[in-house]
């Protein structure tokens, strides 16, 4: 819980040097300038497919983990669980354990009750506030925004987000709790599709625990189960179920019942693991007194794993082979070509050069596949095909004219090249030269 929380709160403060003109926040979603930064990755809006890839990886990763370990995500990493645990922890600090809390709830309003309740709720709201506060840091430069917040000089949108997230954290973790998992969360619903009898789930060892009954000191364990029906597993369950009835939809596999039951078993000096992580298959094997086995390589897991590997290698390849230059060429459609005086033909192109680096660049434009071609770039000032300036981290838009003679093919294929004059990195794009109506 504290690891997850720590990551959430501290991540925006991690710095990553990107050179002069760029933000140095490691994880930043810069909406006004439409860029997303993630350590060494920098995504432009037209590259959202990287986000798609990331989401596929996240989803399939989740499936993979689920089919192996059951709802490990729900129990350990899901923000809803983490924040609920945090809130319950606060509750325990101020109002004591479950019994005390129930007593407090039943007692009539007193000063004691009042301050304990107030403190709980105020702490909750405070946690909500810093949660919302941390959220907005992902979208803004954290140190700048921090000083803005401390001076109460915050843009409206940011205030809105903080308020909304404070509210939702307070409501969902303070009051919603397991209801969110039961009624609101879609993932909880379709997870069952990823389970099979070899997935790790939380099980109560029926063959060992039953028949259950309260235990009196000094009596024998003979002829009875190890479950003493103390119901501690039910009390600690954040989802409010009785694990002894078998796996249920509400179970988020947080393992609280395991810890609780193990404590009780220790006190009774019985072996731990009456409630434990196990697979359904093992339970069946156990009943037949056969040996347990854990089988990781199953059709299902191999399938998930291969999707995972394919997607990540595509992503990896994509990110690695990503050029710092991107070239777009749009051939004019109206008019397709222009007949000039001296039997020459001219075609016009809209060319965009994306400079994804953090330096101002000069590019040279050339063309191949068209004989006797003249390139001309339209524009004011000192501009020529060998001297196309594009500012750091921006898009250069150029009007380019190619002039040549009537070609053998009325639609002649050709290729444009841009070359970074300094680094000699080249990017190319195919286009056409039209020299007559077909």
């Amino acid at each position: 819980m504290f690891i997850t929380l720590g990551i959430y709160y501290l991540a925006p403060w991690v710095r990553w040097d990107r050179g002069f003109n760029a933000p140095d926040q490691a994880i930043l979603i810069d909406i006004p300038n439409s860029r997303a930064y993630f350590f060494f990755i920098e995504i432009w809006p037209q590259e959202v497919y990287y986000i798609t890839g990331l989401l596929i990886i996240a989803a399939v990763g989740l499936f993979f983990v689920t089919s192996l370990f059951g709802r490990a995500w729900c129990g350990y990493i899901c923000p809803q669980t983490v924040w609920t645990d945090l809130f319950v922890w606060v509750e325990r600090i101020f109002q004591g354990d479950r019994q005390k809390r129930m007593k407090l709830d039943q007692s009539s309003l007193s000063f004691n009750k009042f301050w304990r309740k107030l403190a709980t709720h105020l702490t909750w709201i405070f946690i909500g506030l810093i949660t919302g506060g941390a959220w907005v840091f992902y979208y803004n430069d954290a140190p700048t925004l921090m000083s803005q917040i401390l001076n109460f000089d915050v843009p409206w949108s940011v205030t809105g987000w903080i308020i909304a997230l404070t509210g939702s954290t307070y409501l969902l973790a303070g009051f919603g709790r397991e209801q969110v998992c039961n009624y609101m969360c879609p993932y909880a619903r379709f997870q069952s599709a990823m389970f099979d009898e070899k997935s790790l789930i939380i099980c109560y060892d029926e063959s060992r625990g039953e028949p259950r009954s309260p235990f009196k000191k000094g009596t024998s364990w003979q002829g009875r189960g190890h479950c003493i029906d103390c119901k501690i597993c039910v009390h600690v369950c954040p989802a409010g179920i009785d694990i002894r009835n078998g796996l249920q939809m509400e179970c988020i596999a947080c393992g609280m019942c395991i810890d609780a039951c193990n404590n009780v078993m220790d006190k009774l000096s019985l072996p731990r693991g009456l409630v434990r992580y196990d697979t359904e298959l093992n339970q069946k094997l156990l009943e037949k007194n056969r040996e347990k086995k854990i089988n990781i390589w199953r059709k299902r897991t191999i399938f998930y794993l291969s999707i995972l590997l394919i997607t990540s290698s595509i992503m990896f390849y994509g990110l690695n082979s990503r050029s710092p230059i991107e070239l777009h060429v749009l051939h004019d459609r109206n008019p397709m070509f222009v007949q000039l005086k001296a039997h020459k033909i001219r075609n016009g192109y809209d060319i965009k050069i994306l400079n994804k680096t953090h330096e101002d660049k000069v590019y040279a434009l050339t063309v191949s596949g068209l004989e006797r071609a003249e390139i001309k770039v339209l524009g004011a000032g000192n501009i020529s095909p060998e001297n196309l300036k594009v500012f750091a981290d921006s898009v250069g838009h150029f009007r380019v004219f190619l002039t040549s003679y009537k070609q053998e093919h009325l639609r002649q294929n050709l290729t444009f090249y841009v070359e970074d004059v300094k680094t000699k990195i080249i990017q190319q794009k195919n286009s056409i030269f039209v020299s007559g109506k077909e």
Binding site: P335, V338, Q339, L340, K341, G379
Partner: protein
């Protein structure tokens, strides 16, 4: 079928109370909506009331075109929002337009930002005012010149384009560009043929007769120039290239132009468009590629 409210019906199977409604033996269970849902519903209603108070919400069918409605506390309307953003754009444009007033076209064209502004502004003004005749890509049609090419009747320098747009061609404007090709009706058929053959030879490299060339030089050279290259100061077309405006580059075409000359009319835009817009249009037309 509504039954007496007093006796509750409990469904045997699920142990849940039924509403007492029954259809063909199927009973409706009484499962109330979850509490949080009900509260959310109430919150939306409260929100809506607040919204009515703050924003315009209810139509009152008054005002112009039934646009009336309750005003809302903060007095916000989409019309006002539109007006504000339009004003913002206008004020931003005003800065650039001022530069157009102050500077000559040549200076504007040297300035990358103003140049880009002019091309963009000219493009939209062109779509609005000129596309009807010249086509949206300015590629023209028979009788309406293609403005992309480098063949100009009246000259392709930025200054000439500007003057053509401003004063028009063969209009009532006192400074209009105007010229007339005289009709040579009654010319000998043989002469017509020879001249036409000579004119065609200029662009196609075909053979011609010496008489044809002589006749051309006597009657046409004054306006269309040596070898038919045209004369921009007279608006006389270049007839030595493959770009033809009024007639086809063929015997019937040329003969018809000699006997019944066609002339184009292009409206003057002075007075209809302000000077800054005309400058932008000139820069845009010049930027299409044929500008000299």
């Amino acid at each position: 079928m509504i039954q007496d409210d007093k006796d509750k019906h409990i469904d045997e199977f699920s142990g849940i109370e039924t509403t007492g409604h029954e259809w063909d033996g199927i009973k409706e269970l009484n499962n109330p909506s979850p509490r949080w849902w009900v509260w959310l519903f109430i919150v939306t209603i409260v929100w809506a009331i607040g919204y009515w108070y703050v924003y315009p919400a209810w139509p009152t069918f008054s005002g112009d075109g039934f646009r009336g409605g309750t005003q809302g506390r903060i007095n916000w309307t989409q019309y006002k929002q539109l007006e504000e953003s339009q004003n913002e754009i206008l004020s931003r444009r005003a800065e650039n337009l001022e530069q157009f007033q102050k500077n000559s076209i040549e200076d504007v064209m040297k300035h990358p930002q103003l140049f880009a502004f002019a091309v963009a502004g000219g493009k939209s003004a062109f779509k609005e005012n000129c596309a009807g005749c010249h086509g949206s890509g300015a590629a023209g049609a028979r009788g309406y010149p293609n403005l992309n090419d480098d063949d100009w009747l009246w000259g392709g320098s930025i200054e000439n384009i500007y003057l053509t747009i401003k004063y028009g061609i063969r209009t009532d404007n006192p400074k209009t560009r105007a010229s007339t090709m005289p009709s040579f009706k009654g010319m000998q058929e043989e002469d017509l043929k020879q001249i036409a053959a000579y004119v065609m030879s200029l662009s196609k490299g075909w053979r011609y007769t010496a008489e044809g060339k002589t006749k051309y030089e006597q009657m046409c050279l004054f306006c269309h120039g040596q070898d038919g290259v045209g004369n921009p100061s007279l608006g006389a077309a270049n007839i030595s290239d493959s770009i033809w405006l009024h007639v086809e580059d063929s015997n019937p075409g040329i003969v018809s132009q000699i006997e019944n000359p066609k002339h184009g009319v292009m409206p003057a835009w002075e007075g209809r468009l302000d000077d800054a817009t005309i400058k932008q249009l000139a820069i845009y037309v010049h930027s299409l590629g044929g500008g000299e």
